[in-house]
Symmetry: D2
Subunit: 259 residues, 4 copies
Amino acid sequence: MKDVQNSHDDRRIPLQKVGIKGVQYPITVMDRQNKSQHTTAKVNMYVDLPHNYKGTHMSRFVEILNEHHGRVSVLEMDDILKAMMSKFDCKTAHLEIRFPYFIEKAAPVSGALSLMDYDCWLLASLDRSSSGDVFDMVIGVGVPVTMVCPCSKEISDRGAHNQRSTITIQVRSTALVWFEELIEIAENAASSPVYTLLKRDDEKAVTEAAYDRPLFAEDAARNVSEKLREDNRIIWYRVESENQESIHNHNAYAMAESD
Amino acid sequence: MKDVQNSHDDRRIPLQKVGIKGVQYPITVMDRQNKSQHTTAKVNMYVDLPHNYKGTHMSRFVEILNEHHGRVSVLEMDDILKAMMSKFDCKTAHLEIRFPYFIEKAAPVSGALSLMDYDCWLLASLDRSSSGDVFDMVIGVGVPVTMVCPCSKEISDRGAHNQRSTITIQVRSTALVWFEELIEIAENAASSPVYTLLKRDDEKAVTEAAYDRPLFAEDAARNVSEKLREDNRIIWYRVESENQESIHNHNAYAMAESD
Amino acid sequence: MKDVQNSHDDRRIPLQKVGIKGVQYPITVMDRQNKSQHTTAKVNMYVDLPHNYKGTHMSRFVEILNEHHGRVSVLEMDDILKAMMSKFDCKTAHLEIRFPYFIEKAAPVSGALSLMDYDCWLLASLDRSSSGDVFDMVIGVGVPVTMVCPCSKEISDRGAHNQRSTITIQVRSTALVWFEELIEIAENAASSPVYTLLKRDDEKAVTEAAYDRPLFAEDAARNVSEKLREDNRIIWYRVESENQESIHNHNAYAMAESD
Amino acid sequence: MKDVQNSHDDRRIPLQKVGIKGVQYPITVMDRQNKSQHTTAKVNMYVDLPHNYKGTHMSRFVEILNEHHGRVSVLEMDDILKAMMSKFDCKTAHLEIRFPYFIEKAAPVSGALSLMDYDCWLLASLDRSSSGDVFDMVIGVGVPVTMVCPCSKEISDRGAHNQRSTITIQVRSTALVWFEELIEIAENAASSPVYTLLKRDDEKAVTEAAYDRPLFAEDAARNVSEKLREDNRIIWYRVESENQESIHNHNAYAMAESD
């Protein structure tokens, strides 16, 4: 049977990325508290395609994914990328995994436990250079929080508009950084964390704590930046903070990136 | 050229709806203030398919849509449905149109003008019965508003959590009901309307007004219901109110439907 | 601390549904092959609210969900609904759960194994009437398939346009119906199932099998209907078939519902 | 009334972007055929925030947008950015506009006219450097097309799987490039364009033409790259090609970027 993908292309146009996008897959992720947790992910896998090949063999990506049984840790990300490098004639390999991640959280007063979901992702790549393979990984979290508007509080005789917001942190690091660490930084950078379960005492505490700590989207981005700057493991970061403004039908946005 | 769609099907299974879904189309909608406005819509068009036909001719839906040049009013909805009835061998025809609708709105104190966008839709159908054609139309609006939590305000020494919410109203009526009327009902049923443009004076006014009128999702649904019950033109309604809770990562929801 | 939700409302407007929407939660679902599987769900929980109460206690929904630890089977759906009925002063309770469901599938020629993801959901409710509680459940699946156009094949000298489509089946039944059964019915009703992993031999087989079985969206809806009509357990069904037409930027749609 | 945004921040963290995101707005876009067309857009507007300011004045973005009445051309993009530069104490300003764009298209055989919708966007920025302001603009289009798989055609005795795909082109140029030009390049790079309205003769022609020109996602990306490389106006491009594979539930992807 003819291997069409392997046929020659003479246009001299290399492709930076070819691969599969949006594969849904059950995975097991490292969990600081419980060692590991089950969740479900959307997976993208790409390699570069040298100019002389017509196409890539898309089924091989799925085979590699299957061989690793959906286990996802920094170590396994590297293994999967290495498998991609050896199965394809390529110089770079990319693996992107995005999933909901769950952490048991105690309500601030009652201590009532419930699971909070966070949007998490890993964007890893391996790059073959003359001096050896370079592994790169971005760890990302999207953290829902409450934000109380400082301007609204200051100028109003009573109340202050507030809203659900998302703080997004992406980092590159020289040593393991847990999702839990980034989530904690994001939650501490906001007017208040949000919770899945709050009893009446908790709702009072969260309302007052948030009202006592009004912050702009700009403040949240800077609060996170400040923490990440101090962390010796972090070599690059991008922070985004997006308020689903309760008084508008559009969002307020702030972004800070390390130099 | 063979007409495959027209071939016979002998399984005796009529289909309630066959047609096209998700056609994006520029339309002109009736506007109470400016007579008409330009916007863009997603359009669905269906007819029923008698048991004995294998398929329908999907291109005819687009031809009918083209002949009406994207003009959308109650009258034209009826015309389009009649054209569908005459072009297809069918007993019912459905036309669904969803679009952003823009209204110029003055900020409460400064009077600063800006455009607010509302999600609007029309779900129309024509049904051929022995006693003649029956035209049915549901008018729908999705209205972003601010909601301040009464429980949070009551139990807290200061502040109150609030959030962007959506009030959805769908009605059937015996006489013309403007989108503007339903939007006004929704905005009056909430802690406060939202605005695209608010100067500092406006922000103070909106914050205080909302704080002075704390309402649950349940209250908003009832406030709207009360208004619709009193309106003699309205023969059916469904109201939904959904708060993007600022202290949770999930929503609070309430729904009321007329008997 | 005042219980605001419990205060009296005198407008005499009962609400059909109040509750929480969009809680993300890790769940364990019954699996015909492996007894159970881990996945993640979006959960909605509602009860009706009698006219005389101002609001409902949203945190109780989460507490009930937590007590059942995310185990989802027909039995547990009923248990959760009963817990809702006993914790709230209500006459109806609704529980809606939607999740990706994974099935290991062998490629048609090579037998290569891989996981296919299906969109699945359970819409359950409990209704208190004078003659006792009535449990109702809709089981739903969204199944990706390939559809080859019979008209395009018939009129063209070579080739035939085809596309990814989704067949959606929703049923009510008197006895357990597995997701696997509905998925199998959907896949058999299409030109061909789709697969996550296909080697070259498989791709040839799938291409030819699909080309040999051209079907309209209408045919798929009828093929499924025929199977469901014959099944004594099924007391209600709705089937939808939606082709992401490869020659258009809109979809072709067909729907059949039992009488 | 205190200007909280203007208060001093002493953490020495400048923010690269602060502003508003997701404002829905009716706009008028330049149209090669009809001079201009009405459509609706999602608008983002950002400026950088010097380290010493606590926040930005979000309402000013909306005021600037209003002053320009939603007219969008290269000239007006520049005007809006200049207005942002003069209203904010900033060194960079960003304006992002995304909208459906409609082009009347004739079916290949019947010549039947209909409107095709394309996803279009403009990402513009102005950057104040010592040597003057630098205007930068990325023009983007997302073009739906049909793609027939060359491998499937080659190895199968009959038929070939095909699917709706999206070719995304983004360019920077030294002179005006029309959306129509990029759309034409994308449509010519695929197995076939797609159409909103096709009569039976057209469907035959499209099916056969596509079958006669099987192409991988990789080929489409290269076909577009080839055209853009030859165009002296184009100084940067990124091309993406994504097939909604009809035999899989995931997509095939290829990307090429200029050096």
